[in-house]
């Protein structure tokens, strides 16, 4: 049978313009989200389902002398009460540290003889009703004997400090070094010092940690809100079963931001479902989430920056201390990113950076959008501003003299191999601010500032990262994408559809993407490190091209043209002749032809990131695949009588290489700025002796509509990036420059530079007071 071919309207031949990529179709998850029909982690209910709760430590540092669960067990409706002795293998072991910063400390799933932070899980409850499970929590009687705790990471470094773990309080000590920083510093015309402090920050995704678990055919399945389905292997170890007996399905997340990168509900659901052999749902209370979920690391950053009189940087000496809290989680990697990026996008020929993660009896800190590379922006940008002031240069001039360019070498010793469009982003952001606003009241002052930043995308290079995808053209011409990607709400899955549609010409509405299932999807690695567009996007791009190549052979034969002249668009493959009489085959027909000829319409593809080595002794080597650069500019009004800071205007510009979906790119930038402004001005998960002072969503403050200005976005497309079609990642980068831009604007308004976050109204007044009392150095740094 001869395939049906048909003449269709002519399309421009050999065009390199994209038809799907670069547009912002409101498709896929957007539809369900505005309909309210998307099913999140808490939205499944199974027959006979139980409700799980975690009993948590109320002490930050204590020996457990006894746990009496009898009253809880006797409560009608309680089905199971589990403690450490019920856990087959009571350790959370992250076996992916990649040979660097090997972790010698493991976190217990349930505390055994000792608790190390307030909120640490001690026991588990499963009951027939959520209200009963909550009541049972109150009935578990844990007896504690207080131990001396340590709550300040700098104090934890003292020789006589109480040990959080026997192995010592320093989890990791990274060094990055190049040239001779001490000698260069001694020879510098000017040396600027600065100390900068950041705070614990809560992710505060609107969807609390949640999921359901059940056991079926000897396989434990968890459907949870998670960024990382690969935790299935850890669950298998905890249950002491082989990995093929654990399946994890990721629901579309109601936000994650790194907070669902470590396990949250998974081990507890697994244990309860395994023990009871009944389905179990667990949803953490918001207050529980604020208390016990991981946080962004507070950093203490000390900078010494040496420069020539003309502003050229000669040397940096940087010391970073990050509060890891009670257990390792991802601290080793966060502090590595802090070390690698500590100098920012500036040429520094001589540098010594030390970056330590230190255990305390505070809540564990781990991944949070920006991952160590965002905290240091406040440090390096403040230093640049101070250097400019000292030398009588403008902030723009000092940056122009030192900014990195493509081909430059950064402190880790690697060279930058894609475009660095910092100047373009800066010009755009500054221009966006428009005319300067006038103050609205007598005690009010307006100020402006900007800050640039660079943020890696993709995992540290020594992980030899890879992602797989499986594409299938169905016999009706529709396309299936199967990928282990998890979707945070940033369009991770939808972007894959756009890329596949661009390559294969299948219309978006005929593409389904099945994601986040360890049993049915090829592994993509988790969604973190701004890696999914980079990794899975590349996997889809090259996998779809491979599939297209095999389909093209059939189509080319049928149409009698060379395969590389075919155009794939609008559900068809067609000839690209310029006669205006080009012919085409519908993808459905093509799939059927392939089937008849025994040509597979399915392709499983693995894409591998560039590899490299890092020498931790020398502090030199390859670190990250590439970086996303950007600049933010802010205008604020400071009420000098109340200290209240209002952000009047905010503009953000990033080079994303090539936009896949412009609306989603803007959304990432606007949302990142919102988190960055919260971090700069109000968010603080403060702890006093390990106990959080904000335990409610009413007093852990995230910005509201009224706290936010409209965020103006300008996107630069350099056409250079390591992602698919030269895209760069944009998930984390927008959160970085905010605090530094705001601090700089406040300095402009009041004449004194904040060096501690968040910059609350009370702190602003303190700064103004210090200035009035003459305790402020000429460059605006308070002494």
């Amino acid at each position: 049978m001869v395939a049906m071919t048909e003449a269709i309207e002519s399309a421009p031949a050999g065009t390199t313009e994209f038809t799907v990529v670069g547009n912002s179709p409101a498709h896929h998850d957007f539809q369900d989200k505005v309909q309210g029909t998307l099913r999140y982690g808490a939205d499944w209910k199974l027959p006979g389902m139980l409700y799980g709760k975690v009993v948590r430590s109320l002490q930050p540092c204590a020996r457990i002398t006894a746990i009496d669960t009898s009253a809880a067990r006797e409560l009608p409706g309680v089905v199971a009460v589990l403690t450490a002795s019920d856990v087959p293998f009571n350790k959370v072991v992250d076996n992916a540290s990649g040979g660097l910063g090997e972790l010698t400390v493991a976190q217990p799933v349930l505390a055994e003889d000792r608790v190390r932070y307030t909120g640490e899980p001690v026991a588990l409850i499963a009951a027939t009703e959520p209200e009963i499970a909550a009541a049972a929590v109150d009935l578990v009687d844990v007896s504690y004997a207080d131990l001396p705790g340590i709550f300040d990471p700098e104090e934890a470094l003292e020789p006589e400090a109480p040990l959080v773990h026997e192995a010592g309080n320093v989890l990791v000590n990274w060094r990055i070094g190049r040239g001779d920083a001490a000698a260069a510093m001694a020879a510098a015309d000017v040396v600027i010092t600065g100390e900068y402090r950041s705070q614990h920050v809560e992710h505060a995704y609107l969807e609390p940690e949640s999921g359901v678990g059940w056991s079926d055919n000897g396989v434990l399945t968890l459907r949870v809100s998670t960024q990382v389905i690969e935790h299935a292997s850890q669950i298998a170890r905890i249950l002491d079963v082989s990995e093929n007996k654990v399946r994890i399905i990721a629901s579309y997340m109601g936000g994650g931001f790194g907070g669902k990168e470590d396990m949250t509900v998974e081990p507890y659901l697994a244990l309860l479902a395994w023990h009871t052999q009944r389905p179990v749902r667990m949803v953490w209370d918001r207050q529980e989430s604020i208390l016990a979920s991981t946080k962004r690391h507070p950093f203490v950053m000390r900078y010494r920056t040496g420069a020539k009189a003309d502003g050229t940087l000669l040397a940096q000496e940087i010391d970073i201390i990050g509060d890891a809290g009670a257990y390792p989680c991802l601290s080793a990697r966060v502090l590595f990113a802090g070390a690698a990026l500590a100098a920012g996008p500036y040429r520094v020929p001589n540098i010594t950076t030390r970056s330590r993660a230190v255990f305390t009896n505070n809540v564990p800190a781990s991944a949070f959008r920006g991952f160590g590379a965002m905290q240091v922006v406040f440090g390096y940008e403040s230093q640049m501003d101070k250097l400019a002031e000292r030398l009588g240069l403008t902030p723009t001039e000092i940056r122009d003299r030192n900014q990195v360019s493509k081909g430059d070498t950064i402190p880790t010793g690697e060279s930058l191999h894609t475009a660095v469009e910092l100047t373009a982003t800066r010009d755009l952001a500054l221009a966006r601010l428009g005319p300067r606003s006038t103050a609205t009241g007598p005690g009010c002052r307006v100020g402006r500032g900007f800050a640039s930043g660079m943020q890696p995308y993709g995992r540290t290079i020594w992980f030899r990262d890879h992602a797989s995808v499986w594409l299938t053209l169905q016999t009706d011409g529709s396309l299936l994408i199967r990928s282990g990607v998890t979707d945070l709400g940033a369009g991770q899955a939808a972007s894959l559809c756009q890329i596949a549609s661009e390559v294969l010409g299948a219309p978006l509405e005929e593409i389904s993407v099945y994601i986040g299932d360890t049993a049915l999807n090829p592994p993509a690695g988790g969604t973190f490190a701004t890696r999914q567009l980079y990794m899975s996007g590349n996997a889809v791009l090259s996998g779809a091209r491979e599939l297209r190549d095999s389909l093209a052979a059939v189509a080319a034969e049928e149409l009698g043209v060379p395969p590389d002249t075919l155009v794939w668009r609008d559900g068809m493959v067609r000839t690209a002749d310029s006669s205006g009489q080009n012919r085409g085959i519908r993808l459905a027909e093509l799939a059927q032809m392939c089937q008849r000829r025994g040509v597979s319409t399915s392709n499983l593809h693995t894409w591998r990131a560039r590899g490299g080595e890092f020498d931790p002794e020398a502090g030199q080597g390859d670190s990250f695949p590439d970086y996303t650069y950007g600049t933010h500019a802010a205008e604020v009004e400071v009420d000098t009588e109340t200290g209240v800071v209002r952000v009047l205007k905010y503009a953000a510009s990033h080079d994303v290489g090539q936009q896949i979906n412009p609306v989603r790119v803007q959304g990432q930038i606007q949302g990142g700025v919102m988190q960055g402004l919260g971090y700069a001005l109000m968010e603080d998960h403060a702890l006093i002796d390990g106990q959080p002072v904000s335990t409610l969503f009413a007093n852990y403050l995230i910005p509201t509509t009224m706290d936010m200005p409209d965020i103006e976005v300008d996107v630069v497309e350099s056409g250079e990036g390591c992602g698919p079609l030269n895209a760069r990642g944009i998930g984390e980068p927008p959160v970085g420059p905010c605090a530094a831009a705001i601090a700089s604007a406040i300095k402009d308004a009041i004449g004194v530079r904040p060096n501690r976050l968040p910059i609350t109204p009370e702190r602003v007044l303190e700064l103004i007071d210090e200035q009035a009392a003459g305790r402020v150095a000429k460059d605006g740094d308070h002494e």
């Binding site: 209200e131 200290g643 009413a698 007044l765």
Partner: protein, 296 residues
Amino acid sequence: MTGAFEYQLADSWEEAVELHRIWGEDGKILAGGQSLVPMLNLRLVQPAGLIDINPIGAVEPRVADDRLVLSALTRHQDLLRSPLVREHCPILAEGAAQIGNVRVRARGTVGGSMCHADPSGEIPCMVLALDGQLIAHSPRGQRVIDAERFLRSYLTTDLAEDELLTEIRLPIRKHGQGWAFLETVRRYSDFATVEVAATATLSSDAHTVTALRVVVGGVADRPLILSDELLSAAVGGTGRDDELRAVGAAAAATVSPESDVHASADYRRRLTEVLTYRALGKAIERGRAESKGAGV
């Protein structure tokens, strides 16, 4: 997850009073529920009985004997929407607009806020500034309580165990009286760090400030009325900047707030000074406009 409780409906104030008597301290009155239900959800309070007085319903705000009469069940949003409130006690609309969010204002009640007696709550501060009276009912009859007496301490009122707040009466605004309610919050929609409610009365020629009343919230265990002595720098004056600043400074010197997670004592004192000064300025400006008949 709330603990178990008996749920009781009251269709009338009489029924509510009776149920309140029966349950005693084991029972809690459920009005708007915007403070109580979070505490129930967090298991901070676990009453045996919950007496829902919502079915009683609120009569519309009305004016009687030169007083604005509000049912205890008047919702915050009614203060914003009632033309009568805007005309006779406009400060209530100004302050209510700063309460929580649209959902809190839709359910939260003025009586509930008074009984909750949060020292930084907007309603207690304004009711005290207006020198309001609170009507309580018990099996023993009715009692009229001055706001100053009603607000005893942190989350504590003058109500006896068997008394229920049913009504609030507020003197209506006189000619030439201006008002202002100002607060600072750490984040929009939050409880105030410090708040100030002020009224200012001007002479008929709009020249002289003849009377002031200022209440500061968030600086003690209850909202504080600034004494006549503290206000003396501005009463009899013309509302000059230095007069108002003097009152602000005197107020700041008087209050002795505590430090907590939201703000230090010192910062609260600073805010007391600034907000008092600014509220006075705004109230006097409005009073002047009112007395000139210009309206605002």
